[in-house]
């Protein structure tokens, strides 16, 4: 049985439904990400798991115990807040010792465990400092050490790296992953940064407008988005309105208005006439002056409209005959690359039939 079970949880604020009939489960030892744009309900859901807010309907159970009605201080769940919420009048060591003191742990044991925790987050020797004497990354470590010291069953992290600069953020992400593996405590990590979620999570839930759109492993979310929102929100994606013309053995034939017919992977139960979108990742789109004909590929010719040099890759925006645009991505390290396309160049693009996915609306 899962460590945390969320069943049909709903939370309304007046007419606004912040969390709408959400069901999720998180396993022991799992690194789980809640991803979604701001206002999607992920923070409200987190506050309900922590106990600061109560659902209007549905149940939350931790280890089989119903959580609704139990106050935050009595839950075996700790939170790392976005602002860290370190106590400014307590030293680093006192901050980390706080949960132990609240649990009435003997002072000698508190001292020993705080010392260990400080070492664990590489802050040994900084126990006497005050929060305002620490850097952003150090504060973040103190907040994590404090939340983990009395080994909760579940750790909630509310955008804990949002305040850090990009370089430090990446470093802290690696630290968090290592730490989570070491302590083996389940993490629920809330973020609006899809790259962060893809990098950290064992599994992730994509939320929008209070609903969970998809729950899966990051590679599945990225590779097989279930709907238009997920495809668009995670990574970059070419999304073209399409209608199903016919269903074949292992693919569907689609009509894309103004462009023509393509073949793509379909989801189950797709009927001819269904409307939806073709989702196509730029890195799956081949681009060249001339692409050899291939029966397993969709094939179009167009003109380079614009290009975006990103260092490791370059994204080319190719305008097709009818004015619709498709992004294609080429790694700049590709061997034998001699030609960098310029705007206005006539090019051909193509993608394997199984690279495109049809997403029914």
């Amino acid at each position: 049985m899962a460590l945390l079970q969320i069943r049909n949880v709903t939370r309304r604020f007046g007419d606004f439904v912040a969390v709408n009939d959400v069901s999720l489960s998180v396993e022991a030892g799992e690194f789980f990400c809640l991803l979604g744009p701001s206002g999607c309900g992920k923070t409200t859901l987190l506050r309900m798991i922590a106990g600061f807010d109560a659902p209007d309907g549905g149940t939350i159970t931790l280890d089989g115990l119903a959580m609704v009605g139990i106050p935050p201080e009595a839950r075996n769940i700790h939170t790392v807040f976005q602002s860290y919420a370190l106590f400014p009048h307590m030293s680093v060591a006192e901050n980390i010792a706080f949960p132990l003191r609240m649990a009435k742990v003997a002072p000698a044991e508190v001292a020993a465990r705080v010392g260990e925790a400080l070492k664990g987050v590489s802050l040994a020797g900084l126990g006497g400092r005050y929060p305002n004497e620490l850097s952003g990354g150090q504060r973040q470590r103190v907040a994590v050490a404090r939340a983990l010291i009395n080994r909760p069953k579940l750790l909630l992290l509310d955008e804990p790296l949002a305040a850090l600069d990009a370089k430090l953020k990446e470093h802290m992400q690696l630290e968090l992953v290592t730490l989570q593996k070491e302590v083996g405590i389940a993490f629920i990590y809330v973020t609006h940064d899809q790259q962060e979620a893809l990098a950290l999570a064992h599994r992730m839930a994509v939320m929008n407008h209070g609903r969970v759109e998809q729950v899966d492993e990051p590679s599945k979310i990225y590779g097989c988005p279930r709907n238009r929102f997920v495809a668009d929100f995670i990574g970059t994606c070419n999304i073209l309105d399409a209608q199903v013309l016919g269903v074949e053995d292992d693919c569907v034939r689609l009509r894309i208005a103004g462009l023509g017919d393509v073949r793509a992977l379909g989801t189950d139960h797709v009927q001819p006439g269904v409307k939806g979108a073709l989702a196509l990742r730029p890195e799956q789109v081949a681009i060249g002056l001339q692409l050899g004909p291939n029966p397993n590929e969709n094939h179009f010719s167009g003109q380079v409209f614009d290009s975006l040099y990103l260092g490791d890759v370059t994204v080319y925006v190719v305008e097709l005959g009818n004015g619709s645009r498709i992004e294609a991505m080429l790694p700049n390290s590709a061997p034998g690359r001699v030609k960098v396309f310029e705007a206005g160049d006539a090019v051909e693009i193509g993608w394997r039939v199984d690279a495109g996915r049809f997403l029914a609306d």
């Binding site: 106990g51 600061f52 935050p72 201080e73 609240m102």
Partner: protein
């Protein structure tokens, strides 16, 4: 460079002038007066007297000798300190929940609640103290009701007016807003996220108060304590009106020296000692406040 210095002085100048005119110079006048001799009909004897050529400067340590020569005055200071201390503690206990309530109310209600706290300032201080003579008098509903109740229990009726209890009630009433306002100003700035964090980490409601809210409010506590303690220490109107013969404070004696005994120099000595004690205590409070903040 020069203009920056000039404008700095323009900004700092007026307050410095007030401080000099309204604080430093009067204190200096008082200090000199404390070494002078009383005039025959009140006031001060001339600083320089005697025939031309044989003038003498009339300065003396007698006034200080009189103060330090008798335990009576030290006792008055101690009594006043005890009154001021009791007042400060009661004010703190009464003001804290009120300040916390205001600070935690919805933002749109806070201004109204603060207004209610300072509302009494709109009527005259003496009139408000006079009102307590009626409230605490033996015929008042409060006291007669109280005596009726304890009479049922078979106890002797009590008197409140003209007792030390009445003085404490009056002192607390007068000074309460000076405790509420600095406490509120401090508590209002607290980050509610800290309480969430404390609760999340296992702190119950009392632990959240004693571990987070109270220690963080110490600067407000010290500010409020100083604003209550120092004026309560030197006050004379409240013990004059509400206290009996046995509940005089040092302020009463200073007033008597100036108005009744017409001994200005000795009144000045008492004032100087009062100022010195108050400044010392304020310094101690400020030191504690600084330490609690770092």
């Amino acid at each position: 460079m020069g203009t920056i210095r000039t404008s700095k002085w323009l900004i700092a100048g007026p307050p410095l002038v007030y401080l000099l005119l309204l604080f430093a110079i009067p204190t200096l006048i008082m200090l000199v007066a404390s070494f002078r001799q009383p005039g025959q009909f009140g006031g001060l004897a001339p600083l320089i007297s005697g025939p031309t050529g044989a003038e003498q400067v009339n300065l003396t340590f007698d006034n200080y000798a009189r103060f330090f020569g008798s335990f009576l005055y030290a006792e008055l200071f101690i009594t006043s300190l005890v009154y001021a201390l009791i007042t400060t503690v009661i004010c703190l206990i009464m003001a804290y929940p009120l300040a916390l309530l205001i600070a935690r109310s919805p933002k749109r209600h806070r201004d109204l609640l603060v207004l209610l706290v300072i509302l009494p300032f709109w009527s005259n201080f003496l009139i408000r103290v006079y009102a307590w003579i009626i409230i605490l008098g033996p015929q008042s509903l409060l006291v007669s009701g109280l005596n009726l109740a304890i009479g049922v229990l078979g106890l002797e009726p009590v008197r409140i007016l003209y007792t030390p209890a009445a003085v404490v009630i009056g002192l607390v009433y007068v000074h309460l807003p000076f405790m509420v306002l600095p406490l509120y100003a401090n508590l209002e700035k607290h980050d509610p996220g800290l309480l969430d964090a404390a609760q999340d980490l296992g702190a119950g409601v009392w632990q959240r108060f004693w571990q987070v809210t109270f220690p963080l409010s110490m600067p407000g506590v010290y500010a409020g304590a100083a604003l209550v303690f120092i004026p309560a220490f030197g006050i004379f109107a409240v013990p004059d009106l509400l206290g009996g013969t046995g509940s005089s404070m040092i302020g009463n004696v200073i007033k008597q020296q100036f108005l009744d005994s017409r001994d200005w120099p000795f009144g000045s000595v008492l004032s100087m000692v009062l100022t010195a004690v108050a400044v010392t205590l304020a310094g101690v409070a400020a030191w504690f406040a600084r330490r609690s903040r770092s």
